[in-house]
Symmetry: C2
Subunit: 484 residues, 2 copies
């Protein structure tokens, strides 16, 4: 099996290069002095070019051809070959010049966007956005024979197997069911916002994470402008949070990032250093962060634990006060600060718009008006300026189309997994009240994490819950939140 | 000039990979959770293997052949081609199996050594040392036609162009002149050791480094078990220090590491991302750290500055008291804690012994006795146990022969450069007393740093000082220290 050994060696090499890229990016966001940027950009680009060259080399195709005509593979190796073929085919379909243009346009687009947002001037951003859309369509055209439409081809980079039609179906139900719930929730008196000193937040982050299993032997917790999670190997997880205001975003963001990291840590060790040894998709990844943020962190049963840690950290608070603050519903302009109930509606809007842009049904010039209409329709808010509207997110500026849906899909999958988990392992109320998450970790390991990339999003959800992607568990969850 | 472009692109790539290796090693020593080790070992080994493959590829030889027959190169490009040829030839002469065996024996040797040192049992270490010596001789034999003896071939990895004969000449003078100075110094009453609280040390490290030019825009200062310096690019310098006892090692170690980093930062920017864009040799590198440690940090004119920073940090001390503590001379068993005057004698001994081992004139079984004899002869101390004698250093366990001389050579070159600097730029006493090191930085940039790897050790020393390697400036310096 020389071909299998060669393929596995190449996949191990690519994993190592990818993890070095994780390290370089983590360092850039947490440790690097600012003047290190130009050299770091060179290093990252060299890493990417070398990885691409080694991933798409002719010899990989030869090994795959040989292995595909072999009957004698284990189940894991069959999946390994299947995914390696998929990745190799996709990577090789994109002409090198187009890939370079995409990277450059994405980088330039972010610079242009930053200036345009600061100046609240959509027209300054429009040409860059137009170019990104054209390039995304050119990219999608590389896979024209494989997908029903260009958006599906883009989606495949984030969530292989999902389609625009499937998302329309799911998001249609959200767009219909959520607004009345929001309208009902805002009728209730708003709880007073908390003003938690940073020291108490830090104490609560540290001690809450320790309860979840974040030990210094194999974790780091740092601070960055935007919280994120990464890993340099299965036993080297690094998450960040931020302490910006008196709210408890620090604790919830830390739990969110913990969810991403736990996923990577609990993948079967025998998949490490292969193409199967990481999270399967953006939306499943997001389901893991959302599960810990929404279903553990905001769980009434867990409120006593966080309140206790805050109290021990010097900020005395009642669990019920904390819970009310965490459950506050308020339609607002900005996605990243939206609450649990309104958040998916921000995504529904972005999906509708980017689908129309990519399919050529919406012109860039008409985008701001379409944005503002959608915000009125879905969230009932008036957008006062493009800076607080269509210019708020970096994704389109960076050329990332098809990425947004995973944020809402993850939220839905989280609710669906949580129902399945409690159905199988029993109510977690008692365990959570005692700060014990071991059953949650174990169920996720067995039903979601362990399999790595061997199952794509919807097959994985089906295997874990017995049903395909389903909106109802999330709607039940938020109905409960909105009416408790 | 397609060959030149191709060569420069490859050298840029190799630089990026090497800087990623710096990052991975820095992270491992300062930030990485301990359980990250196995994955990090994979990443480093992949990086090394890929770099070796890309550095020694056939096409590099083709580009070099083409460029060597071109008359039309700039001075820089001629040096670039000359050094690329040297590196390519050296790398390709070592059979891949031997390189792997060297790496493995070095790693295993360190494990064996650690256990043997803990058990104070030289005989447990002897077989590993014997194997390392044999492999080092096999490695040297790859270059047999280019060097007068095997030790010279090993030396070329650290200090290209230096020879055992030249070092014997220099160290012979040291071995003759230093012991009487030491004997004289120890007759004088020993100053009381300082007991400086860690907080005051930290304040002094931070503010002293800031005076030298360590600004957060492009530097980091962290803590590690052994102080070191590294860089991720010319504008991203990272040094570490440690706070282990009540002494001032923390401040001097920080200045030492600053010297290493400043060297890399002040290399001509047009040499960045080429094979010429880093320090030229181990001994010149060590000369830069020693210059800042010995000639600035321990300078009577600078004592008021450090004393002032310590006082501001909460530990009131007179400059004269500080200076006396920093200038204390005391022959001792352990190299890494030796003073300025006795330190080179530790190196003279190691050089004599490793030269004899590599040349086959000394058997491993006779090494402990030879060590103890040498310590008596050179430093007048009795070695009570191998753990405090021949087993104290990791270098031979790791298979590094030819490395030790650079520690003493650097000390000598530092003194020689300092004399030349003050002869050219005038006495620095007044500037140092005011905490102003700008003239020192500038002179070093122009006469040592700027040229990068374009000159080897001794040609560089000659260009900077008008003379080849010379022991007398160091002897004048320590005579002054010993008698002030």
């Amino acid at each position: 099996m020389a071909a299998l050994d060669a393929l596995r060696a190449r996949l191990a090499e690519l994993t190592d290069l990818s993890l070095l890229g994780h390290l370089a990016a983590w360092d850039q966001r947490t440790m690097m002095p600012p003047d290190g940027s130009p050299a770091r950009a060179h290093q990252l680009s060299t890493l990417q070019r070398l990885s691409h060259e080694r991933a798409t080399a002719d010899e990989v195709g030869e090994w795959l051809g040989e292995l595909e005509s072999t009957g004698d593979l284990t189940d894991v190796d069959r999946d390994l070959v299947r995914l390696a073929r998929r990745d190799w085919d996709r990577d090789r379909r994109v002409p090198i010049d187009l890939a370079a243009e995409l990277a450059q346009a994405g980088a330039e687009g972010q610079d242009v966007w930053q200036a345009a947002r600061a100046a609240d001037d959509f027209s300054a951003f429009a040409p860059a956005l137009r170019r990104n859309i054209e390039l995304a369509r050119a990219y999608a055209a590389c896979f024209a024979d494989e997908f029903a439409g260009p958006y599906d081809a883009l989606l495949a980079d984030y969530d292989f197997g999902l389609t625009a039609a499937r998302i329309q179906e799911v998001f249609g139900r959200l767009g219909e069911a959520l607004p009345p719930l929001v309208a009902e929730a805002v009728q209730r008196p708003a709880p007073a916002p908390l003003q938690v000193p940073v020291a108490a937040q830090q104490a609560a982050v540290t001690s809450t994470l320790a309860r979840l299993g974040v030990l210094p032997d194999s974790w780091r917790v740092d601070v960055s402008a935007h919280p994120f999670s990464t890993n340099m190997g299965q036993r080297d997880s690094r998450i960040t949070t931020r302490y910006e205001d008196g709210q408890l975003e620090s604790v919830l963001a830390a739990m969110h990032e913990f969810g991403h990291s736990l996923y990577e840590r609990q993948i079967a060790p025998e998949l490490a250093r292969t193409n199967l040894g990481h999270g399967t998709s953006m939306s499943v990844h997001e389901s893991q962060s959302k599960l810990w943020e929404n279903h553990v962190g905001r769980n009434p049963a867990f409120a006593g634990v966080i309140a206790g840690e805050l109290t021990a950290g010097g900020f005395a608070v009642e669990p019920s006060t904390l819970l009310a603050a965490l459950g506050r519903v308020q339609p607002s302009l900005i996605r990243v600060s939206a609450d649990e109930l309104t958040y998916p509606l921000h995504i529904v809007l972005r999906f509708e718009l980017e689908l129309a842009l990519i399919e050529g049904r919406l012109d860039v010039a008409d985008l701001p008006a379409a944005w503002n209409d959608g915000m009125r329709r879905l969230l009932g808010v008036e957008v006062p300026s493009d800076a607080h509207g269509v210019l708020q997110d970096v994704h389109w500026a960076a050329g990332a189309f098809g990425y947004f849906p995973s944020y809402a899909l993850g939220t839905l999958i989280a609710a669906q997994l949580w129902e399945a988990l409690e159905a199988a392992a029993g109510s977690q109320d008692e365990a959570l009240a005692a700060g014990d998450v071991s059953a949650v970790r174990r169920w996720l390991a067995d039903h979601v994490h362990h399999v790595g990339r061997r199952l794509d999003t919807e097959p994985l959800v089906t295997a874990a819950t017995g049903r395909g992607l389903d909106v109802e568990p999330f709607l039940r969850h938020v109905t409960h939140v909105a009416t408790r």
